[in-house]
């Protein structure tokens, strides 16, 4: 196990190096750079020398590989540079976004799993009956509804039409005006009310997908001989589903969780934009648009580490959920 872990970590480090180098090369070769954006408001001519000075101010006078190794050396000293756009240390810019992103993604993830497991099991138990078909149809409808359309419909209904009623919900953002003056209880309520619509939009697609995922896996498992044996021995239907069948569907489920982990931090660009939620997705999107190389690289590094860790974690969890899996 230890040698497996060391091997995986070494390969992971190599992959990380490769990812960051490729991304750095790519973003430096994208058309446009921060100095060009800085000169968009020019009303007069600018000399090549001035352009060169502006490029130098952003460190663009160096070839991309030299600049990459400088960046790498800085990262080794935990210096991620300053955001070109926000004029703040990259660590500060990203850390401001992590909390709001996790607030949505973790809430959404927990909700999705908490609801999808019973829904998936219920669908399996009631397979083929009217209530199951209705539930499945409803979930399919949800799954096929684009989140941004749903978001606008919900906003229009709850934040505009019902705004003066007790069902009214905030349109966007994380806090109301005057948040700082509220009591802790009021602040919690305010935050909660702002989270309702985005969390719903983040969750319903995953809920539909995961409950169908569980159901389809369960359908395969409940046809196995050992399930029939358990039933023949007189084990109750709930115990059969939960103890005998569901545990055996955990391996693909764990894989799914491993793949979900990076999404916890990466955020969702469109939903974050619609709800003006200060998350990581919109930060990444905005950083690309403004050619904010230090922030892009900081985010790429973070996402890569999380993605690689997620895969490693999933592999390790296999050994927990399936004793047959070993990494000796």
């Amino acid at each position: 196990m230890a040698s497996y872990l060391i091997r995986r970590l070494l390969i992971g480090s190599l992959t990380l190096l490769l990812i960051t180098m490729l991304i750095y090369a790519l973003i430096r070769s994208m058309p446009g750079d921060p100095s060009m954006i800085d000169t968009e408001g020019l009303t007069r001519r600018i000399s090549q020398e001035d352009y060169d000075l502006a490029r130098k101010a952003y460190g663009l006078d160096k070839t991309w590989y030299l600049a990459y190794f400088e960046w790498l050396a800085d990262v080794a000293r935990f210096d991620f540079g300053n955001s070109f756009y926000y004029k703040l240390p990259v660590g500060d810019v990203i850390s401001q976004r992590i909390g709001p992103t996790l607030l949505l993604s973790v809430t959404s993830l927990v909700l999705a799993y908490l609801l999808s497991i019973p829904l998936g099991l219920y669908s399996t138990a009631r397979s083929g009956r009217t209530d199951e078909r209705l539930l499945s149809t409803g979930l399919y409808v949800l799954y096929s509804m684009p989140a941004f359309v749903m978001a606008l419909l919900l906003q229009s209904f709850f934040a505009v039409r019902l705004r003066d009623t007790w069902l009214g919900l905030p349109l966007l953002g994380m806090h109301s005006q005057g948040y700082d003056l509220m009591s802790p209880w009021e602040q919690t309520l305010d935050l909660f009310s702002h989270m309702v619509l985005p969390v719903f939009c983040f969750t319903y697609g995953a809920l539909a997908y995961e409950s169908r995922f569980i159901r389809s896996n369960m359908q395969e498992v409940i046809r196995q001989d050992y399930i029939r044996t358990a039933r023949a021995k007189g084990v109750g239907p709930i115990r059969v589903l939960w103890h005998h069948a569901f545990r055996n569907t955990l391996i693909p489920f764990v894989t799914l969780i491993g793949l979900t982990l990076p999404a916890l931090l990466s955020g969702a660009v469109i939903l974050e934009q619609i709800f003006t939620w200060p998350g990581m997705g919109s930060l990444m999107f905005q950083s690309i648009g403004t050619r904010d190389y230090p922030v892009i690289m900081g985010l790429v590094l973070l996402f890569s580490i999380i993605a690689l860790s997620g895969q490693l974690l999933a592999d390790i969890l296999y050994t927990v959920v399936d004793p047959r899996v070993t990494y000796s």
Binding site: P31, L171, T276
Partner: protein, 688 residues
């Protein structure tokens, strides 16, 4: 190996995610900003900056040992200046008073209630709404002085430091946080602001401007706002290590700025030009805040001290930064020490206690925010104006108004490309396009057609009436054939023999990825297809689009330019010298146009220089004499561009705004309702 392969696949996916993240677009609009700077040059030593890969640039060292781009200059003593210079007093303007006088001259408006009950479904109701709601308060009791306004922003501001101002959002906060000595009104006339300036004198020879500042303006930390701040800012802008490129362009036309005492500042011009006043409009930063930290961090952005200044800047304007959440909002609070001095009111009290800028990138959500009262104003697109703001749910809390902006859009033809180097081909493009369909279908009949670079009502526009182009495919084909673009060898695409090689007329039109623009370009492609020309439309992310233009790697593009405060600023788009380093990305070159820009810069008394220019550029051949006025010179440029059609001029895009019903005092200028003086400062909220 399987593991490595999956990691490589992950790397690939991440790369795809980054590359795919490029969309969106916005206007290419010419900023009004313009200024210059310099530094003291006593004992200055010439030197060059020549790090690896950097072009050599001549710089000097100022008295503080800092780099400067200004050649050494020792200003004369004030007494000498006063003896030798003949000063002419110039008006200092109270912008609010000026607006009040202007509004008093307008026809008697409807009452507010009647205006607010109107549906803005045509020009007449728009006029009635604006006539009633552009008013200033009749008495103090009408104003809600404790009001907080929430304005909509499509993107966040980049900076609170005015020397780095480079976007519309930066401009929005810059005028609220910082005092400008010079400003301009709704007619784009430049003048000193009475809120800052006591007096202004220009020298008769046009080489100097002397400004005496008011003694009752302080920075937000209580330090007096002085002439030394102005001179320091000039030197800072002209420090090549300070990345103030946008603000430096224009400011570098100045030779020197000298603070003779705390309140007297003199601007030294390189030449006596009619455009000199435009170059005085640079912002001011506090010397006492930056003078010690500048040497250590000339970027003014990297050190923790400067980061703190970005977050909580020391301001000289009517507002200070109360709160800022990047990418979300910026909240400014009224500064009592701006309008009160020693307990007495010395300036107009700003109407809002708090100004909140809310960033909402998605246009649909922004409209919902207006409807729900989350924001108090919104600049809309044509589609929102026509189809999403006509129902009762919009008019419940809001009204809307539109005004003409001098922001024109055009197809821009790369004159250096093999397709568009011939005037006849460009003319054919203008005839081939279905202008009516664009105006009436794609743009809903809301925008007026454009025929040139200056709006017909502008003082600098040609007095020769020009008919907007209409689609005439026969004429277009005739022009193409005259230019050598024929159907050959039974092809259904036109081609031309260039250097013995058959070149099909198959080009790419690039544009930013904005649906309305893409539709207009697609209409052109359809029109051209009917006359045997293939046009591929390529929507691009904004920065990529600009980079292709800067690199001149395009055949044609769709874009727009907003008006500057002075027509001279358009030289950067049309003169031959602006092909390299300017905005003349299409490579247009016309000797007469170059000469006319030079002539228009000259003051009336510069007879010799004027004669020289007319002679050098042979302007007499096009009927221009040395005594031509600025308006005549720019009018002639307008005529020449119409005849050459380097652009197919399409339309002026109007400004479409939704306003909360509680707001009053908005008046549209050629730069919209806010971007002039008093602009936003005339907007107020009623008590109801």
């Amino acid at each position: 190996m399987r593991c490595l392969a999956s990691h490589l696949a992950l790397a690939y996916l991440l790369i795809l995610a980054v590359v795919a993240g490029c969309t969106s677009g916005s206007d290419v609009a010419q900023s009004p900003q313009s200024d210059t700077a310099d530094a003291r040059g006593e004992a200055a030593v010439d030197k060059t900056v020549s790090p690896a890969g950097i072009s050599e640039l001549k710089t000097y060292t100022d008295k503080d040992g800092l780099k400067t781009l200004i050649a050494p200059f020792t200003p004369p003593k004030l007494e000498e200046l006063e003896k030798t210079v003949e000063w002419v007093e110039q008006p200092v303007v109270d912008t609010m008073q000026r607006l009040e006088d202007h509004l008093r001259e307008q026809p008697t408006p409807n009452d507010d209630e009647a205006a607010l009950s109107l549906r803005n479904d045509g020009a007449e109701n728009n006029r009635k709404i604006l006539a009633a709601l552009d008013r200033l308060p009749e008495n103090e009791g009408e104003v809600n002085w404790e009001a907080a306004i929430t304005r909509h922003w499509r993107g966040d501001a980049r900076t609170t430091n005015p020397v780095f101002y480079n976007s519309v959002e930066d401009g929005d906060i810059s005028v609220l946080l910082h005092s400008y000595l010079f400003t301009f009104d709704w007619e784009l006339k430049p003048f000193p602001d009475k809120a800052v300036v006591e007096s202004w004198h220009s020298s008769k020879d046009g080489l100097y401007d002397k400004v005496v500042l008011r003694k009752d303006l302080t920075w937000s930390d209580g330090t007096p706002f002085t002439a030394h701040d102005v001179a320091f800012t000039f030197r800072t802008i002209m420090n090549p290590d300070v990345p103030a490129l946008a603000v430096r362009s224009g400011t570098d036309e100045l030779k020197w700025v000298e603070a003779y005492d705390d309140w007297t500042v003199v601007y030294f011009h390189k030449q006596a030009l009619a455009t000199n006043a435009v170059n005085l409009n640079f912002p001011t930063i506090p010397q006492h805040v930056y003078e010690k930290s500048l040497a250590e961090d000339p970027t003014l952005q990297k050190s923790p001290y400067h980061v703190e200044q970005q977050n909580n800047p020391v301001c000289s304007g009517a507002y200070t930064v109360a709160r800022r959440q990047r990418g979300q909002e910026m909240v400014l609070r009224r500064r009592e020490s701006y309008y009160l001095h020693d307990g007495k009111q010395v300036r107009d009290k700003p109407f809002f206690r708090e100004v909140r800028f809310r960033v909402i990138e998605d246009g649909n959500v922004a409209l919902l925010a207006l409807k729900s009262g989350e924001v108090h104003d919104l600049e809309m697109n044509s589609e929102q104006w026509v189809s999403q703001t006509s129902s009762a749910d919009f008019y419940e809390e809001n009204t809307k108004a539109t005004g003409l902006e001098w922001l024109y859009f055009a197809f821009e033809w790369n004159c250096a490309s093999q397709y568009f180097d011939d005037r006849r081909v460009r003319m054919a493009m203008s005839y081939a396009f279905d202008h009516d369909e664009m105006l009436n279908v794609i743009l809903y009949g809301l925008n007026e057609p454009c025929t040139g670079i200056f709006h017909p009502t502008a003082w600098m526009a040609s007095k020769t009436p020009k008919a907007p182009f209409k689609q005439d495919l026969d004429k277009a084909e005739e022009l193409l054939e005259a230019a050598g673009w024929d159907f050959r060898d039974g092809d259904n695409v036109r081609s031309k023999l260039i250097d013995g090689r058959k070149v099909p007329f198959d080009f790419t039109m690039i544009t930013t990825n904005v649906p309305e623009r893409v539709r207009i370009c697609n209409l052109l492609a359809q029109n051209l297809n009917r006359i045997g020309i293939k046009c591929a439309v390529k929507p691009l992310e904004r920065v990529t689009h600009t980079q292709l233009m800067v690199d001149k790697e395009f055949d044609a593009t769709f874009g727009g330019w907003g008006t500057g405060t002075d027509p001279d600023l358009s030289e950067n788009i049309w003169s031959t010298s602006a092909i390299d380093g300017g905005r003349n990305w299409i490579g247009y070159s016309n000797r007469y146009v170059d000469g006319l820009y030079q002539l228009a810069k000259q003051v009336e008394s510069a007879t010799e220089a004027r004669e020289q220019i007319v002679k050098e550029f042979e302007l007499d051949k096009i009927g221009v004499s040395p005594s031509a006025t600025r308006a005549e010179a720019y009018g002639k440029i307008d005529d020449l561009l119409y005849a050459d059609q380097p652009y197919t001029f399409l339309f002026y895009r109007s400004a479409f705004y939704g306003f909360n019903k509680q707001l009053r005092g908005y008046m549209f200028s050629p730069r919209g309702p806010y971007h002039y003086s008093p602009g936003f400062f005339s907007v107020w909220m009623t008590m109801q």
